[in-house]
């Protein structure tokens, strides 16, 4: 299939992941005490790209960016909100899922990134429930098809109106010859524990399942007649509110716009820089440690708000990663560097640890966890360079462990009097930031001997120099000044010469050793099955289902099973 690049709307040249409620075109966020209503009311014309319309509350990446933003803001700006009511602003339709014409005309790379981001958003909804006690109740009045039902599956409680026509469905296979792309199959079997043969019926029935049977088959939690809907929703909201551990009162912090300046080959944020070497297809992200010690108290942290260093950095890192993923397809490798005082980084980790019961500290930690997972799931070669004057300590050291390769400089370099390269472990490296497979990055790293670092002396808080770090298995190679430049140059050049597809597959395989979780299954199956099917002629060929969708003509399939 020829991949003609589709044009972004409004003359944009990049997909921007930053937004705020004043700019939403597709969602209405209303907060009323402990309950927030998030109303999906997609503006048909408000598309990210040209060439399609978002009919029937279908979505594209632009719609999902707003959803992700809304969830994030509810976590940070409205800590008193305990329940989100996820509803549709359109009559007779909840959400028709990802827009099919958008998918049919999108490049494969965009489709994959789109699915990845939407999955991360849905995982974020589950994370808000699990970590913060911010529960989501999904109210389906109309049809929830495909991605619409998958969105519902990410919530804590699904209510379906029993009016003889409201239904949930996963019509991807019969209608489009693809699979649900946001974890639908996995959540149906693993989360909702729908019996496999019923799931088979459900996933091959285009019109879906409605009414009582949807409850009997565990596809939804309850059905409610229209006339009693509001009453039933209010009752459920009260129940979930009572279960929440969020603070009863507490002023939120404003997620103010990021400070971000873009030039041709660089993006400058307040706590990090991104530099593109386009000829060699590299992006270097340099994270900067804090300039001042942590505040004296949790209240002072709240006062600092979005300026609080760990929060500022994680938001900027999130944006930088998303920007590269969605806009820099030629970038083969992301190189992580850092600069600053490791002791200060550790001080912030200790501050967050000491205040981990405070809602804001909890949210910041959870944010880091999610962004680090985004890094894990980024299909670029990840490289960490631990150099003089760097500050890979505690939370920042996770980027070293997230990388496919890490290099650390031994001793000093000629003519440079910055402090020697050091790596510092902290409590947070041992469980605060699990990967999608449920293990910490260190546990994933030492699968053969999971206790290696747990035993005897965990070198927590020690400034580990290169050779020690290498001996402990914390970095791939420790190199001295003589070899440093050349080894890294050769490695990166070799890396850039490999097949990008094969590397994506290899890295994803090696990053997630060990056990499976629902989350790891979702991403693995997305990459393996969905992305494979998405490439096949039965879906995207001239006579394939996605191409023929909407024309009235039936797709012609290659009937051979692979």
């Amino acid at each position: 299939m020829a991949e003609a690049e589709r044009k972004l709307n409004n003359g944009n040249s990049r997909i921007d992941f930053q937004t705020d409620p004043s700019k939403y075109r597709h969602w209405k966020l209303a907060v009323d005490g402990e309950v927030a209503t998030l109303l999906m009311d997609v503006d048909e014309k408000g598309t990210l790209f040209e060439g399609y319309e978002l009919k029937l509350n279908s979505y594209d990446l632009g719609v999902d960016i707003e959803l992700a933003d809304a969830i994030e803001r509810l976590r940070f700006e409205h800590p008193q909100v305990k329940v989100i009511l996820l509803r549709s602003g359109k009559p007779r339709v909840f959400c028709a899922g990802a827009n099919i014409r958008m998918l049919a005309g999108a490049t494969h790379a965009h489709k994959v990134n789109f699915c990845k981001f939407t999955n991360e958003t849905r995982n974020g909804i589950e994370d808000a429930s699990e970590v913060s006690g911010l529960f989501t109740i999904c109210v389906i009045n109309g049809t929830a098809a495909g991605g619409g039902y998958e969105l519902a599956l990410a919530t804590d409680h699904i209510m379906l109106v029993d009016d003889g026509s409201s239904a949930v469905s996963l019509p991807e296979l019969p209608l489009l010859a693809v699979l649900p792309g946001t974890g639908g199959l996995t959540r149906v079997t693993d989360k909702r524990k729908v019996r496999r043969d019923r799931a088979d019926v459900f996933c091959t029935t285009e019109e879906g399942i409605k009414g009582r049977r949807a409850v009997d088959w565990r596809l939804v939690d309850e059905v409610v007649p229209s006339s009693r809907l509001e009453e039933a929703v209010a009752k459920r909201a009260r129940e979930f509110t009572a279960r929440s551990s969020r603070p009863a009162a507490g002023k939120g912090i404003a997620l103010t716009p990021l400070k971000r300046e873009r030039s041709a080959d660089a993006v400058e944020y307040s706590t990090l820089s991104v530099e593109f070497e386009r000829a060699s297809r590299r992006a270097t992200i340099t994270l900067r440690g804090p300039e001042a010690p942590p505040p004296a108290s949790a209240e002072a942290m709240v006062d600092a708000g979005a300026q609080f260093w760990p929060l500022r950095l994680v938001r900027e890192l999130d944006d930088a990663i998303l920007d590269i993923r969605a806009n820099e397809f030629d970038t083969a490798a992301i190189i992580f560097k850092s600069s600053g005082d490791p002791a200060q980084v550790l001080a912030y980790d200790q501050f967050l640890e000491a205040n981990k019961k405070h809602w804001l500290a909890r949210e910041i930690r959870a944010f880091w966890k999610r962004v680090l997972k985004r890094v894990d799931l980024t299909s670029r070669s990840l490289v960490a360079l631990v150099e003089l004057g760097s500050c890979f300590a505690g939370t920042l050291a996770e980027l070293v462990f997230a990388s496919d390769r890490s290099y650390m400089l031994i001793g000093q370099r000629d003519g440079d009097n910055k402090p020697p390269a050091s790596l510092v472990l902290a409590e947070v490296n041992f469980g605060a930031y699990p990967m999608p497979n449920g293990l910490s990055r260190l546990a994933s790293r030492f699968l053969a001997d999971a206790g290696a670092l747990e035993k005897a002396n965990r070198p927590i808080g020690e400034m580990l120099e290169a050779e020690t770090a290498e001996n402990l298995g914390l970095v791939t190679f420790a190199l001295d000044d003589i070899d440093w430049e050349d080894e890294i140059r050769v490695f990166l050049e070799e890396r850039a010469s490999f097949s990008s597809d094969a590397l994506t597959g290899l890295e994803a395989n090696l990053r997630f050793g060990g056990p499976e979780t629902m989350e790891s299954k979702i991403f693995a199956r997305l990459s393996a099955w969905q992305n494979w099917i998405f490439q096949r002629a039965n879906a995207v060929g001239e006579e394939g289902a996605l191409k023929r969708y909407g024309t009235g003509q039936k797709p012609a399939f290659d009937t051979r099973r692979v």
Binding site: G164, T551, G552
Partner: protein, 482 residues
């Protein structure tokens, strides 16, 4: 319900589908029937279950058999299952299966799509009975009362026809759908009927006549296109339903025609030349022509919504699958596949109404709707002739398709009946000029008085030119229960 238990269905249900031999379907119908009678008693004509009504009953499909007239109590009406005779060697007349022998069984790959088509059609049949259940109490004559009951029992039979298809060809799902057709209720908040127009009230007789003229005509167009279906049993069922549907439209067209005639005659007699002298006209106990025009605006626009989006994937799929064709498909001269032709569709392009060529397959709804509009226009022409004959200066006009729409291209905009696009303020200040107001409704309602003396008619409607079954003017079409 005890009288039902021992019914011999194979003989009580007039049929030409050999029910006696078809044990399975017979059993399914036996199970369904008590619920149907229950539905008819609770949702059918209110207050007239014991009345003796002079009704035609179809007992076979040949010209002699399908219009047997007699007095009957409606719950005892013999709702039959009658399919047009099977055409030998019928070939599929359109779609990707064009030219193949028509299917006598449901093709598995189209089962869901076909079932949906049958269920949507089936749902409209009982819906209109529910909408019209109070009309008997305000009938302008026994003649009109009989007409509404005739329409009602035949809509009931149409439900049977669709239920037969569901039970015979769609297994367990079909039986469940048949059950749900009895559960939904027009206008019910919890179990509404499937299509919007079938959840609106039919509050008065002008509405009823408008409904049978415009909405039953949509039904006719839908049946016409299903009568083309490659699935032969559906085609045969719909072909026979069309013979009944013609009477429903006759009731609508002549009902409005007689209303117009009465108004024009009363105006003439009173020496009123200007139709817009609404109050003077109303004082004569007739409905002024501008109000009739407003009702026409309302019902036409609601009925257009029933055709769905102008450009529709579902319609394209159904045509391509050879399940639902076009109006008079076999008389159209083209390839009947439409894989490469286009059809002009009125669309909203940059705030203007423009004609845009769309792939003909996806414009199937638009095409059917255009045929519908032409059919409506013929009825309007006949009404206008009535006005001309009496000699009043007024013409009825269909509004532009962009006027007052809830579905399709124009749902987001406001347009005048001329098609001129309006801003919200302009629309709000003028909409009562174009659509019936509450006052208009109250006035019409004030005329709705039951007239039950044989041969007598309410003030606002003229007698028919000919009686039903050629009966004389004072024939007692309905014998009300004592």
């Amino acid at each position: 319900m005890s009288e039902i238990v021992n019914v011999d269905y194979s003989t009580t249900i007039p049929n030409n589908v050999n029910l006696t031999e078809d044990r399975q379907v017979l059993r399914a119908l036996e199970r369904w029937h008590p619920g149907y009678i229950d539905w008819w008693r609770t949702m059918g004509p209110d207050g007239f279950q014991e009345a003796l009504v002079y009704l035609r009953t179809a007992v076979s499909v040949d010209p002699k058999g399908w219009a047997k007239f007699d007095y009957i109590k409606m719950p005892q009406y013999r709702w039959g299952i009658l399919l047009a005779p099977q055409e030998e060697d019928r070939k599929i007349p359109f779609g990707r299966h064009y030219g193949e022998p028509a299917w006598q069984e449901v093709p598995g790959e189209y089962r869901a799509m076909l079932r949906r088509l049958v269920v949507i059609q089936g749902d409209t049949e009982p819906a209109s009975v529910e909408q019209q259940r109070h009309l008997g109490k305000t009938a302008p004559s026994l003649y009109d009362m009989r007409n509404v009951f005739q329409v009602n029992v035949e809509e009931g039979r149409h439900l049977w026809a669709m239920v037969y298809i569901l039970q015979k060809y769609f297994g367990r799902d079909g039986r469940e759908e048949a059950e749900q057709l009895l559960q939904r209720r027009s206008g019910d908040a919890d179990k509404p009927r499937m299509l919007g127009a079938f959840n609106e009230a039919t509050p008065d007789w002008l509405s009823f006549h408008m409904f049978t003229f415009f909405t039953d005509r949509d039904g006719k167009m839908q049946l016409e296109s299903l009568a083309q279906s490659g699935f032969d049993p559906l085609s045969r069922t719909c072909r026979f339903m069309l013979t009944e549907e013609a009477h429903h439209m006759f009731v609508g067209e002549t009902g409005i025609g007689r209303t117009i005639q009465r108004t024009c005659e009363a105006m003439k007699a009173a020496g009123i030349e200007d139709p817009s002298e609404i109050n003077k006209v109303r004082d004569l106990g007739v409905i002024d022509l501008p109000t009739i025009q407003k009702k026409l605006h309302l019902h036409y626009s609601l009925s257009l919504d029933l055709f769905g989006s102008e450009v529709s994937t579902n319609a394209a799929n159904a045509f391509n699958a050879s399940l639902k064709g076009r109006f008079q498909e076999t008389k159209i001269e083209d390839d009947h596949k439409l894989e490469s032709s286009t059809y002009p569709v009125l669309k909203l392009v940059d705030g203007e109404i423009k004609r845009v060529d769309e792939p003909a397959l996806t414009a199937i709804n638009m095409r059917l709707r255009d045929d519908y509009t032409a059919d409506c226009q013929r009825g309007l022409d006949r009404w206008n002739k009535i006005i001309d004959r009496v000699g009043v200066a007024f013409r009825f006009q269909l509004p532009h398709v962009a006027f007052h729409r809830q579905i399709g291209e124009f749902k987001e905009v406001d347009a005048a009946p001329s098609g001129e696009l309006l801003d919200e303020a302009a629309w709000n200040s003028q909409k009562e000029k174009w659509l019936p107001s509450k006052d208009d409704g109250d006035f019409i309602q004030s005329l709705m008085r039951q007239v039950v003396e044989p041969g007598k008619f309410a003030t606002w409607i003229a007698p028919p030119r000919v009686g039903i079954d050629n009966k004389p003017g004072d024939f007692e079409y309905v014998k009300l229960a004592a």
